[in-house]
Symmetry: C2
Subunit: 123 residues, 2 copies
Amino acid sequence: MLLRTSDSRPRRTWPSTSTTWPRATIPRSRASMVDLGVLKTFLAVIDSGSVVAAARERGYSPAAVSRQIGWLQRRMGVRFFEPDGRSIRPTSDALEFAVRARELVDEVNRFERYSSRFGAARR
Amino acid sequence: MLLRTSDSRPRRTWPSTSTTWPRATIPRSRASMVDLGVLKTFLAVIDSGSVVAAARERGYSPAAVSRQIGWLQRRMGVRFFEPDGRSIRPTSDALEFAVRARELVDEVNRFERYSSRFGAARR
DNA sequence: AAGGCTTACGCAATTCGTAAGCATG
DNA sequence: CATGCTTACGAATTGCGTAAGCCTT
């Protein structure tokens, strides 16, 4: 399949003048060191002290929240939560990181409001 | 399928005590009003003045960049680029929005560096 | 047992690159 | 006719919810 053996027109693909494309299909999701959604979830867990509560707050299943936290921890190479009885307890690293993360999320929220207004103003 | 008609154990799924889950599979991608990757691409197009150049800079195909810009415009309800001969020209809205967007991206870059240091320090 | 956290599994949805079309110079 | 932008298409990957397991109270 996909042969299309005939049709030998020299149709230019892209780019004609330089190196061909480096990789074949880069999935983009969560590639950037920073995933805002995960950061928001992280803060929700910190604030509520529970995966279940954070899940409800963010509109996810607890499984999704658990996965997001796991992803963040692996990404950072740091342990952010430890099991504490039936619940979890944030590490001191988590609390420290949360301060900075909250600054960013606040900034993002401001930007989100700006964007909404910007769009609404000229429509 | 998925019936499992027998096996009538009252296996708790989740959550047992409250309303069932609101939606069935929310894809998260680009759901948050802000997509940092798209914002970076937008700025790259502004700075280079060309979709092709921005694509090269960002490591995407021109098609991908074109789609990302289209997505952003639809999202914002604003036209950011107009065809200008064989190239494109940013609207005044684009230039205005770019100022604010750049602030955010800069802030995110700072956070990215912080995160790297944070992770590296305790490993 | 019941409540809370985590992993396995299947699925839906997204986004990418390639291909192809259209317009401009 | 070469360059640049955009859309259609198929492929690949992700990230979700559900299901199920483990551990604590």
